[in-house]
């Protein structure tokens, strides 16, 4: 029926839309084309194929494509589609041929080629053997050139029978045990519809290094980043009138004669103990050089010597590089097995790049783990944990107070028990990024407002309260006296904020006279002033500051005022 057809079309178009919007964020360099087949109208590069309509050519997608899809949705969309595309004779073979031309017209070398067929007909040619044959031949040609063909079919009354025709079209599954072929079509579509707003990164080693076990025993490893704080993609500067991207050019020139300064005309300087120390740029780099890049084994330690709180940076991951030094994988595997068996980690000196000072790292063995579906959950290799130097550990005087009684601890255990859950590292989305992507989408797709985000970092207070029931009060009765208010104190602060009477009236600007400043310089007490005051002072005397660190501001002022 017509409504059923409409509903199916809608479902498929929504999938396509979701593929587009996900691709745009996850991998915007990927090329995507949208081809309809079985259409009345024909539109393809050389118009050599009948009933094949290339709605979008193979190109990197942008907002226009999503808007184009939106045009086809709904009652009006269906009418529009009827008019522009229409429906006609079906020949999958022609469509596949057209697609193969689209691929070959692309000048860039593509690392992956994938073709998804969306359909609800398991016998598209209605028994026309010639057409079936042509489609099989074309599919085989495509697969030959490295295209993976995937079927995204909808359910249909009586079931979608893949064995009728499509089993010969699609690429065989990678795992032979899965020969059953797409039994659950809906799941696949649902997966596609799930919007993932996260940048996808290609697996690439950050660097390839030599790992030296000792004099003359070297293996090669690749260093990988498996977790790194994802940040908002950086902004692009545009010309206000034309929205054309603009580039920045930075140049240095002489303040007095205006001549352009080349790198050789400049040196680097720092001020210590009232003295300016000058070095060449090369020297500044040389200071940071201790050794060539690489990992050097110092020795091994039992795992319990790796302290939980010795954390300064996210970890890296290493895996052997057989192509650089053959035999690396074998030594690597032997070390991995033995370290893991003996429950030790390897301590190494690590220099990631040229002219980079060393850091010490712990190589923690990680053996491969598979999940229920036999796919890799953790890869085999060593995690590289960065260890702090003496300077990185701050001395603080601990607060010492009374400790809790067993009764109090037991009550807390009940609370903990009520609120336990299975932590999974990928279950929290970054609300800042998600909001940013939705804002961008809203602007690009002319939406009235961005889709709302679900902030998973917020505690589900109501649910927690319900689970705790009277426990929270019972615990408070055990640890707090009746008149104790743990939320106390900040009250005073709030008052000042309110009495301020509006944001316009900020703190009076702390201006400082030249004389006062000179006094501070003479007594070396500039450090007592706050950063904003120092910044203002710099402005006041027209001192250009490159840095915003407090010490730099102080140095700049000292230089200026002690002249």
């Amino acid at each position: 029926t017509k409504t059923m057809r409409l509903r199916r079309t809608k479902r498929i178009l929504e999938c396509v839309r979701s593929v587009y919007t996900s691709k745009i964020i996850s991998s915007d360099k990927d090329l995507v084309a949208l081809v309809f087949y079985g259409t009345e109208q024909s539109k393809n590069p050389r118009n050599s194929f009948k009933h094949v309509y290339v709605y979008h050519d193979l190109d990197s997608p942008g907002s226009q494509r999503v808007l184009d899809i939106d045009k086809l949705l709904g009652e009006k969309g269906a009418q529009f589609a009827e008019k522009t595309i229409g429906s006609g004779e079906t020949s999958l073979g022609e469509a596949l041929w057209c697609c193969s031309n689209l691929y070959s017209d692309i000048k860039l070398r593509l690392s992956h080629k994938r073709l998804m067929i969306f359909t609800c007909r398991d016998d598209p040619h209605g028994g026309d053997g010639a057409k079936d044959r042509q489609a099989r031949t074309k599919a085989a040609d495509l697969k030959e050139t490295g295209v993976v063909i995937d079927l995204m079919h909808l359910t249909k009354p009586g079931g979608f029978d893949v064995s009728l025709f499509f089993c010969d079209i699609v690429s065989p599954p990678e795992d032979e045990s899965e020969l059953g072929l797409q039994i659950e079509p809906c799941r696949k579509l649902e997966d596609l519809q799930k919007r993932v707003r996260a940048k996808e990164l290609k697996k690439r080693s950050q660097s390839r290094l030599t790992f030296s076990l000792g004099e003359g025993v070297n293996l090669a490893v690749g260093v990988y980043v498996l977790a790194r704080t994802a940040t908002k993609p950086s902004a692009v500067k545009l010309h206000r009138d034309t929205n054309e991207p603009v580039r920045t050019k930075t140049r240095y020139f002489h303040a007095h004669n205006g001549g352009i300064l080349l790198p050789n005309d400049m040196k680097r300087a720092q001020v210590y103990g009232k003295k300016q120390i000058v070095m060449e740029k090369d020297e500044v780099d040389e200071i940071k050089k201790f050794d060539d890049p690489g990992l050097v084994l110092m020795g091994f330690k039992p795992m319990d010597r790796l302290k939980l709180h010795h954390h300064i940076r996210p970890a890296l991951f290493i895996y052997p590089e057989e192509e650089q030094i053959s035999g690396s994988s074998c030594v690597f595997t032997a070390l991995l097995l033995k370290c893991s068996e003996k429950n030790v980690f390897a301590l190494c000196r690590y220099i990631p790049r040229r002219n980079t000072p060393p850091r010490f790292v712990a190589l923690v063995p990680q053996r491969e783990e598979l999940d229920q579906s036999q796919t890799q959950a953790t890869p085999p290799g060593f995690n590289v944990i960065f260890l702090p130097f003496a300077d990185d550990i701050r001395t603080l005087d601990a607060h010492v107070g009374p400790t809790a009684s067993d009764e109090q601890v037991d009550k807390m255990k009940e609370i903990v028990h009520k609120l336990r859950f299975k932590y999974k590292s990928d279950s929290f989305e970054n609300p800042v990024l998600q909001q940013h992507y939705r804002n961008l989408e809203a602007l690009a797709l002319n939406m009235l407002e961005p889709e709302p985000i679900e902030d998973l970092t917020m505690p589900k207070v109501q649910m927690m309260d319900a689970r705790l029931g009277p426990l929270a009060q019972e615990f408070k009765d055990l640890v707090y006296p009746p008149d104790y208010n743990p939320e106390g104190k900040p009250a005073a602060k709030r008052k000042t904020a309110e009495s301020g009477g509006g944001a316009a009236e900020k703190k009076p600007k702390a201006e400082i006279s030249e004389e006062e400043l000179k006094n501070h310089v003479a007594n070396s007490t500039l450090g007592k002033l706050t950063v904003p005051v120092l910044k203002d002072a710099c402005k006041q005397f027209g001192i250009r500051t490159t840095g915003t660190k407090k010490q730099e501001l102080i140095d700049a002022l000292t230089m200026q005022l002690s002249k």
Binding site: R109, G214, P314, E368, V531
Partner: protein
């Protein structure tokens, strides 16, 4: 909060003639003591704290001190009064500190120092007053005033430290309490062979120190040598931890007042380098200018005010002003430390720790109820082996995090350790080929036992005589070598502006090496590993790829086709030559350039200049399509240079281009040049070239391929350090 406590300290050095005596091959005590003082002052200068330092010399030819009168306190010179140490002092020590020809009583010198401290600290607040005496004790002293001196030291709260050329008793005792990297070198001269004055002096030193500090007093008597080892470790960059008061919440009604402190975080160098003019060394002589320009032929400049920001959305760029961004962005509702739930510690992977810090969370100071409540939580978590998963926001401006709070129970205190955990977006799910069951890589039994033996021989945790485990390589006791090296070089350059930089100091090199005992122990097992595991550097076949391959344009096209393209170009050129090309445009620079060279309407030099201008412009974009165009330009440049027999322009351009590669981050582009073998024009090709064929072949290679990693953008602005800096 307590202001940084400052100390006042007088360095009191014996420069008398006996200090210059030494056995052959030994460094005279004078030189050793001078080095100790240099290192010490150096440390103070770079620490940039408020400590004040004075310098008193005794045994000098002249006399300069307040107490000198009637032949008393002679040959004692107050070289520098109490003030913050600076480079001037370092320079003075370097050039003016010379051995004297007299001898003076070290007890007299001590009295002068005490007087100096008392006079010059009056009315100022100091946490600590200290006198450091460096002497060989080789002088007759009058001990009659000893008790008076000890009493007044006690009364004034002045502490003493002695540095001697020889150890206090036979062995090098100052070594005992130290846990610095590696044991210090062999002891100084043995206690034998001391003069009678020295023996008597030693007794007096012991007497003073024990009466001042009781038993521990003798710990403050060091040898010069030992002091050099320890002092050379520049003072750590001291940061006062900043308190972060907040409330830990569980659900809507359970609140505990807490305070967080950054406990571990990567310390960065305090100062950055400023750019100065090479001649005048003035930073004001260098002006930096950033201009915005369009991507057109003329690189039309645009005012900064005429630009807005946008973000890429697929192939589009969506204008999105800062104001709009701020208005629409995620808003956090202020600082918080809210429990989301509790989970088993084992579910939190150590290698998934994020961020750059560990925060220790205590109960609010002097709030015993909060202490009890937090203690209950810490102990409950500890006994259940669980951790709290929390939402952490430093303040309103900063981005929220999800992290774990682990229980930490120490002998003296309890706290929570907070570490940031990843967001879904931070994780990269890469899969790697399996290793263990891969036949190609599976190690044999004998290989496994070789690895096993190597690990056993290289354990850095050893059992001592009492059966206690001792860690012989504690990374958290090693000072960051970057700072040590930087300060060493700064000091050297500050004092000797024209000298080249010094080599890395031996002690620092040693601290970064495998401990010698371990190195010795692992020799045999390492040799075994070497013989059992064949490791061979793979000689790379010359990569045949060309840039065109990388971007796929002419993957396997036979040469014939290329020729055709060239012909086509020639043909086009003929056509175009008829038209009027007057300059190298940006649309088809190769065509324009070739036309110009052919037409000879402008000189070859000018045509090349225009072309290189375009190349530079294209390279400014740093993207593959522009690289391809640039390479086509360079190819054309080279071809035309060869055919017109002019190698100089091309070669000099290529040389300057190569120099600029690291700074402009053009490594990727350079690799493409390598693949296309677009090297210098050699003598073999053009007679006038000064480049040999061999040089041309080697030209493209950089000594070492450098993987440039973009510095992580620190986006989250508000954090503990920010506030600290604003104080």
């Amino acid at each position: 909060m307590a202001r940084a406590a400052k100390s006042a300290l007088v360095l009191c050095m014996d420069v008398g003639f006996s200090m210059s005596n030494s056995e052959p091959g030994q460094e005279p005590p004078f030189e050793q003591a001078k080095k100790v003082i240099q290192k010490f002052v150096q440390r103070q200068v770079f620490a940039e704290n408020k400590d004040e330092v004075g310098l008193v010399l005794f045994g000098t030819d002249g006399t300069k001190n307040r107490l000198a009168k009637d032949g008393q306190y002679e040959n004692i010179t107050v070289h520098r009064h109490l003030m913050m140490p600076d480079f001037e002092l370092l320079e003075e020590i370097e050039s003016e500190l010379q051995p004297g020809g007299q001898q003076a009583d070290w007890l007299d010198a001590l009295v002068v120092c005490m007087d100096l401290l008392q006079q010059e600290t009056m009315g100022k607040k100091f946490e600590r007053l200290n006198i450091v005496l460096l002497t060989d004790l080789n002088v007759q002293t009058s001990a009659d005033q000893l008790d008076v001196i000890i009493n007044s030291l006690k009364k004034a709260g002045i502490t003493l430290q002695f540095f001697l050329p020889f150890p206090l008793d036979g062995e090098d005792r100052a070594d005992g309490g130290g846990d610095g990297p590696g044991p210090s070198a062999a002891s100084a001269r043995p206690g034998k062979g001391l003069s009678s004055q020295q023996t008597q002096g030693l007794e007096m030193v012991k007497n003073i120190m024990t009466s001042l500090e009781e038993e521990d007093g003798l710990e403050e008597v060091h040898t010069f040598r030992d002091a050099l080892e320890k002092l050379s470790i520049f003072k750590r960059i001291d940061r006062r931890p900043m308190a972060w008061p907040c409330q830990l919440t569980i659900g809507s009604s359970l609140t505990i007042r807490i305070v967080g402190y950054k406990a571990v975080t990567e310390e960065k160098v305090k100062k950055s380098w400023t750019i100065v003019d090479a001649q005048s060394h003035q930073r004001d002589d260098v002006k930096r200018e950033t201009v915005y320009c369009l991507n057109d032929d003329d690189e039309t400049e645009v005012q900064k005010d005429d630009t807005i920001q946008g973000f890429r959305y697929g192939s589009d760029i969506v204008p999105f002003s800062k104001v709009d961004e701020d208005q629409m962005k995620y808003k956090s509702d202020g600082k918080c430390f809210s429990v989301l739930g509790f989970t088993k510690q084992e579910l939190i992977r150590r290698h998934q720790f994020m961020g750059s810090q560990v925060v220790k969370v205590f109960a609010a100071r002097d709030d015993e109820h909060a202490a009890v409540a937090l203690s209950a939580l810490i102990r409950a978590l500890d006994s259940l082996k669980m951790a709290a998963i929390v939402r952490y926001a430093y303040d309103r401006r900063s981005n929220p995090q999800v992290g774990a709070a682990f229980p930490c129970i120490k002998e003296k205190y309890e706290c929570l350790l907070y570490v940031q955990l990843p967001f879904m977006e931070d994780l990269r799910q890469f899969t790697f080929p399996m290793l263990e069951n891969n036949k190609k890589f599976t190690p044999s039994e004998s290989q496994l036992s070789a690895a096993d033996a190597l690990i056993d021989s290289m354990m850095l945790v050893e059992k001592d005589e009492d059966g206690e485990s001792v860690d012989v390589f504690k990374v958290n006791h090693i000072p960051n070598p970057q700072f040590q090296r930087l300060f060493q070089c700064l000091h050297h350059r500050g004092v000797n502006p024209d000298d080249p930089l010094p080599p890395v100091e031996p002690w620092l090199k040693r601290a970064l090496e495998r401990p010698q005992a371990v190195s010795a122990r692992c020799q045999a097992p390492l040799q075994d590993v070497k013989t059992k595991f064949p490791l061979k550097v793979v000689v790379k076949k010359k990569e045949q790829k060309t840039s065109a391959d990388v971007f796929g344009s002419s993957a396997d096209e036979p040469d014939a086709k290329r020729v055709k393209v060239d012909e086509e170009m020639e043909f086009n050129l003929a056509e175009i030559a008829a038209g009027n090309i007057t300059s190298v445009g940006s649309v088809n620079p190769v065509r324009d350039f070739c036309a110009l060279v052919r037409q000879k309407t402008v000189s070859f030099d000018q045509a090349c200049q225009q072309l290189t201008h375009r190349i530079e412009q294209l390279l400014g974009n740093r993207s593959p399509e522009y690289y391809m165009k640039s390479i086509a330009c360079i190819q054309a440049f080279r071809d035309q240079s060869v055919s017109s027999g002019n190698a100089e322009l091309f070669n000099s351009y290529m040389q300057s281009l190569k120099r600029s590669v690291p700074d402009r981050n053009l490594q990727e582009f350079w690799d493409l040049l390598i693949q296309d073998a677009l090297t210098l024009i050699s003598k073999d090709e053009v007679d006038g070239s000064t480049i040999s064929k061999q040089d041309a072949n080697q030209f493209l290679a950089f000594e070492q391929k450098e993987e440039v990693q973009a510095a992580p953008v620190q986006e989250d602005t508000g954090d503990v350090d920010d506030l600290l800096d604003m104080m």
